[in-house]
């Protein structure tokens, strides 16, 4: 009779060699490293850029207020982005493992939704602030140029900004959304398994 299949007995016969504790703890390093590498890289990169911009201010002593505001806005854009990015990471990192599956799935689902919102909103904000900052910053230097050069400089900048806004930004968002929407759908589906 099929009903006599002893599932428990079959189940227990599956075993796997247990890695030594040394081996296990060796993995711990890689585990941590992998998680933190990207975070550290992003932080360092943006902080270096901020310092670099700060140094420009220090060495070139801009005269006009617009230049100073421009620099502040650009740095602000990066700082806001960095704070949001770090916070999102910490939320994910601090997710309590000792929840029931039900609660855990809900937290994952909420977290992913928040991430989706942040990625889009933050990226837009970052781009807008960056563009405003650059335009303001340029004014002092272009105002000393001949009109035709000044116009050319702004046109080139606007073209570059347009490429970023209309091509790179949607592409980045689309890529991020595709990945995250897949995950959100999947978590929702699993969540629903526990509801019936």
């Amino acid at each position: 009779m099929a009903t006599d299949i002893d599932f428990k007995n079959l189940w227990k016969q599956q075993t796997a060699e247990k890695p030594s504790i040394e081996e296990l703890l060796g993995k711990l390093k890689g585990f941590k490293k992998e998680n933190i590498r990207k975070l550290v890289a992003t932080n360092i990169l943006l902080i270096i850029t901020c310092i670099f911009i700060g140094l420009i201010w220090y060495y070139y002593q801009p005269q006009m207020l617009t230049t100073k505001i421009g620099i502040v806005v650009v740095i602000l854009a990066m700082v806001i982005f960095l704070i949001a990015y770090n916070q999102l990471f910490m939320n994910f990192y601090r997710l309590d493992n000792n929840l029931t599956n039900n609660e855990y799935l809900q937290s994952l689902y909420l977290l992913k939704n928040r991430q989706k919102f942040m990625q889009t909103t933050m990226l837009n904000l970052y781009f807008i602030l960056l563009f405003i900052g650059i335009c303001l910053y340029m004014y002092e230097y272009t105002s000393r140029m001949k009109l035709i050069y000044a116009i050319t400089t702004y046109v080139v900048t606007f073209v570059w900004i347009a490429i970023n806004w209309f091509y790179l930004r949607p592409k980045t968002i689309k890529k991020q959304q595709a990945k995250i929407n897949g995950l959100i759908d999947k978590f929702e589906e699993i969540n629903n398994q526990l509801k019936d």
Binding site: A2, T3, I5, F7, K8, L10, W11, K12, Q13, Q14, T15, A16, K18, P19, I21, L24, L25, K27, L28, F31, N97, N98, L99, T100, N101, N102, E103, Y104, L105, L108, K179, G182, L183, K186, F187, I190, Q193, L194
Partner: protein, 156 residues
């Protein structure tokens, strides 16, 4: 409880839980190791609000659920079929089938049946998964029926 004892006592159980979830011994090993890394990191913070078993099984099953993120890089279709079969040659086909069928169930059912077969009490399973005990009982009954049917279809 010291980590070494926990590791000794729970390694096979956690491995089987992960194996039931993914039916891929390499991936299951990774998941089990990740679980014990988390256990090792968080053991000092463990406050005995729940039994140690419940705590460990929660970490393990949540880790399995989270691995969906990695799944995309690692889709089953990409793995050479023969490789997996070869590795498990020593196992009886019935055992292999059991794990295969379990891994084909909906995600949360995989966790529930794995815990049941590991002889975790149903009240404890309810505490791990976050459903009522009666709900768990019904689910286990249905899952067992489903598995039995699959075995029957294969002539067992």
């Amino acid at each position: 409880m010291v980590f070494e004892d926990i590791y000794e006592l729970y390694w096979q159980k956690i491995f089987r839980l992960c194996m039931g979830y993914v039916n891929n011994s390499e991936l299951a090993q990774d998941l089990a190791q990740e679980t014990f890394i988390i256990v090792w990191q968080q053991l000092p913070k463990f406050r005995h609000e729940s039994g140690i078993g419940t705590w460990i099984f929660r970490i393990a099953s949540n880790n399995c659920l989270k691995q969906i993120e990695k799944e995309k890089k690692f889709s089953k279709a990409d793995l050479p079929v023969n490789l997996e079969e070869k590795k498990q040659e020593s196992l009886e086909p019935q055992i292999q089938l059991l794990y295969q069928y379990i891994s084909e169930l909906p995600e949360t059912d995989r966790i529930i049946i794995s815990l049941e077969l590991e002889e975790v009490k149903q009240a404890e399973i309810a505490g791990i998964v976050g459903l009522s005990e009666s709900n768990i009982r019904v689910k286990i009954h249905r899952i067992k029926e489903k598995l039995t049917k699959r075995f029957k279809e294969n002539g067992y």
